[in-house]
């Protein structure tokens, strides 16, 4: 195997919450708990899980929009985790992010041309004319018109804005794009367009994606490998098709069984696994295996013994005492 483009080694992110007079009595929330994985150049990795499982936090840690509490983030062999904002700047162009909310991620007070030129200007990519040309190029690539440069974000629809967001992410020719639920805020009809755009771009530009989503069907469509997160930890990881076909972890099973499929007979309903109870609070996670209170196959052992992520097949890992 070649050196991975990105390698996360036991990355943790915790923050304190609460307003106790004495700071040490505040709760510590482990949003991301010792997560490790690798991505090869050209690969697409999906991060899935229920909302609040830490997948977005992980995504922001990987781009170092958040500081990391512990662990290493090796990008092309360089550890980004300890770097200051200033020291990070040379690496920024290589890792870019597409945001979930196309309304919030574009400054309403700036014109589209300005927004797209911003990364180029900041990193001194060429003269004014060259930047203008590049902006036109980007607009064209994401399916917008050249004269849109003079417009403001509020003049566009959600789908169009997400295209602008993608164009901005692509402006610096990144090697890795982290897409944080890029379509979940959009109408279903538009979702397909954006997904197709992302797929096209990957093909044309040879991009590497980390694709964060709670919508499994989109993940299945876009990614080769998938990691399933529960309460800040990865519980299962493997090739997308195998994970979807034969999930090893009971939580993955439950997630996949919940995906609605066109099934006029209603036969699949019987197989659907209903999880009981709410997702526990990350500030006070259950002992042992975090999943045990909701797990249909949990046993005593799970209460105090936390399973580690271990290989369960070729290129597959799961964190369950009972995964085969």
């Amino acid at each position: 195997m070649t050196r991975p483009l990105l390698e996360a080694i036991e990355v943790s992110k915790s923050y304190s919450r609460g307003n106790h007079v004495l700071a040490r009595f505040n709760e510590t929330v482990k949003a991301v708990d010792q997560v490790s994985f690798t991505i090869q150049e050209g690969e697409s990795l999906g991060l899935v899980g229920e909302s609040g499982c830490g997948k977005s936090t992980l995504g922001r840690c990987l781009t170092r929009l958040h500081a990391v509490t512990a662990g290493q983030i090796l990008f092309d062999g360089v550890d980004l985790a300890p770097l200051s904002l200033r020291a990070l700047r040379p690496y920024r162009p290589h890792i870019q992010m597409v945001f979930q909310d196309p309304y919030a991620s574009l400054n309403p007070r700036r014109r589209i041309g300005d927004l797209l030129a911003e990364p180029l200007r900041v990193h001194h990519r060429g003269s004014k004319a060259e930047i203008a040309e590049r902006v036109g190029d980007l607009l064209d690539r994401v399916g917008l018109l050249p004269d849109h440069v003079h417009r403001f974000p509020h003049e566009f629809s959600g789908g169009q804005r997400q295209r602008i967001g993608i164009a901005r992410a692509l402006a610096l020719n990144p090697r890795l794009v982290i897409a944080d639920e890029p379509v979940s805020a959009l109408d279903v009809s538009v979702q397909a367009q954006i997904v197709n755009l992302l797929l096209d771009l990957r093909e044309q530009l040879g991009l590497t994606y980390v694709f964060i989503a709670h919508d499994l069907s989109v993940v299945r469509q876009v990614t080769e490998r998938v990691a399933v997160m529960y309460l800040g930890r990865i519980v299962e990881m493997g090739r997308t098709d195998t994970v979807f076909r034969a999930p090893a972890h009971p939580y993955t099973k439950a997630l996949i069984s919940a995906v609605p499929r066109p099934d006029p007979t209603g036969a699949s309903r019987a197989q659907r696994i209903i999880l009981h109870g709410d997702v526990p609070s990350p500030s006070n996670p259950p002992s042992g295996c975090h999943f045990h209170p909701r797990c249909p196959v949990a046993q005593d052992r799970c209460r105090h013994d936390a399973p580690t992520l271990r290989p369960v097949g070729p290129g597959r890992q799961a964190a369950c005492h009972f995964a085969a």
């Binding site: 922001r60 781009t63 929009l65 904002l85 990070l88 700047r89 920024r92 162009p93 890792i95 870019q96 992010m97 945001f99 979930q100 909310d101 919030a104 991620s105 574009l106 400054n107 309403p108 007070r109 700036r110 014109r111 911003e118 990364p119 900041v122 990193h123 064209d140 994401v142 399916g143 917008l144 018109l145 849109h148 003079h150 417009r151 403001f152 509020h154 003049e155 566009f156 629809s157 959600g158 789908g159 169009q160 295209r163 967001g165 901005r168 402006a171 610096l172 959009l186 109408d187 009809s189 538009v190 397909a192 367009q193 197709n196 755009l197």
Partner: protein, 345 residues
């Protein structure tokens, strides 16, 4: 939220063609310009300002009076009879001196004289000039300082934020009149700010005082807004691109704060005019012989029972100005505050 333009077809997508490419500022201005009430208020306001600016013209060319010199022994000619501007009472024990009342003649003591025999109408115009100038400059300073402090606290966070926020808490809890009066009492003797020294009676002092007092009113909302903006996706996006902090502040945060500031302008004007007049009324604002609407009300207070117009006129002037500013302020808020755009109609 429906993506109305493109339907299901894939690229290229055509943006909504109806609206011309107008920025939020231009849009807001357009909305404001269409607001008839606000525009009428603006017109009246401009008339008041013009009249006040013309104060020297009126005093020297029309009334031929000096609004700042005592005219204790002055005499004027009304319909051929010579009348003293300050007439000692002759009835009974002959106590007291009464200034001449409104003459009804525009060019001679139209609103009468004050207790120093000065032309009240000329002073009203000069006073308006000071009142408006003080309120205006104080608004600019207060907004700039408030925005600066709010942004500094919100953007840099940490100890700077804690320090500034606590300071703002203190100023906020300090009842505003008490703060203003306390400051005035100290500063009114003159103040030395590094190489600059302001003598007592200088208009700079009330301006400084009034600017300081309302800083928390601007800084606190601005800080809150900056905190929201700082954690907004578009600022995160800029960080992700590698935009330096200073540039984020300048290009992404400041323009968004500016709308808040614009909405604040008429409100601050109203508050500053009110505070200026109150301070001057309590004689810790504009100092004699300079005039402001507040000082004229104070002068008139001593003549309220015999010559009520001395106090009535500046009060009406303040009320009218504030009324216009309030209406204009409503218009500006409707035009610039995104929250109010939710409201149709």
């Amino acid at each position: 939220m429906a993506d109305t333009a493109a339907g299901l077809t894939v690229s290229p997508v055509v943006a909504r063609p109806a609206l011309p490419a107008r920025g939020p500022w231009a849009t807001a201005m357009a909305i404001l310009l269409q607001n008839r009430a606000a525009m009428s208020a603006l017109f009246v306001l401009l008339c008041i300002i013009a009249a006040c600016l013309a104060a020297p013209l009126y005093a020297h060319q029309i009334a031929h009076v000096d609004a700042f010199q005592s005219n204790v022994d002055g005499e004027i000619d009304i319909d051929g009879t010579t009348v003293a501007v300050l007439e000692p009472n002759t009835e009974g024990l002959g106590l007291g001196v009464t200034p001449i009342g409104p003459t009804g003649r525009f060019a001679t003591y139209w609103l009468g004289a004050d207790s120093q025999g000065r032309d009240v109408f000329a002073r009203l115009l000069y006073g308006g000039r000071n009142s408006l100038m003080i309120a205006g400059i104080a608004t600019v300073i207060c907004l700039s300082m408030g925005v600066l402090v709010g942004i500094t606290a919100g953007f840099f966070g940490g100890l700077i934020d804690t320090g500034l926020s606590r300071l703002l808490d203190i100023l906020w809890a300090f009842p505003v009149f008490l703060l203003a009066i306390s400051l005035s009492v100290v500063l009114i003797h003159g103040v030395q700010l590094g190489p600059l020294s302001f003598d007592s009676g200088s208009l700079v002092l009330p301006i400084l005082i009034i600017s300081c007092v309302y800083i928390p009113y601007v800084a606190r909302p601005v800080r809150a807004q900056v905190l929201t903006l700082k954690h907004s996706d578009f600022v995160l996006a800029a960080i992700g691109i590698g935009v330096p902090s200073a540039r984020i502040l300048w290009r992404d945060i400041l323009p968004n704060v500016m709308t808040t500031a614009v909405v604040f302008i008429p409100l601050m004007m109203v508050m500053n005019i009110g505070l200026e007049s109150a301070l001057s009324y309590l004689s810790v604002g504009v100092q004699a012989p300079d005039a402001s609407w507040g000082t004229i009300i104070e002068d008139g207070q001593g003549l309220l029972y015999s010559r009520p117009w001395v106090a009535l006129a500046p009060g009406i002037a303040i009320a009218l100005t504030v009324l216009c500013l309030n209406i204009l302020g409503d218009g500006v808020r409707d035009a610039f505050d995104p929250r109010s755009q939710v409201r149709p109609g």
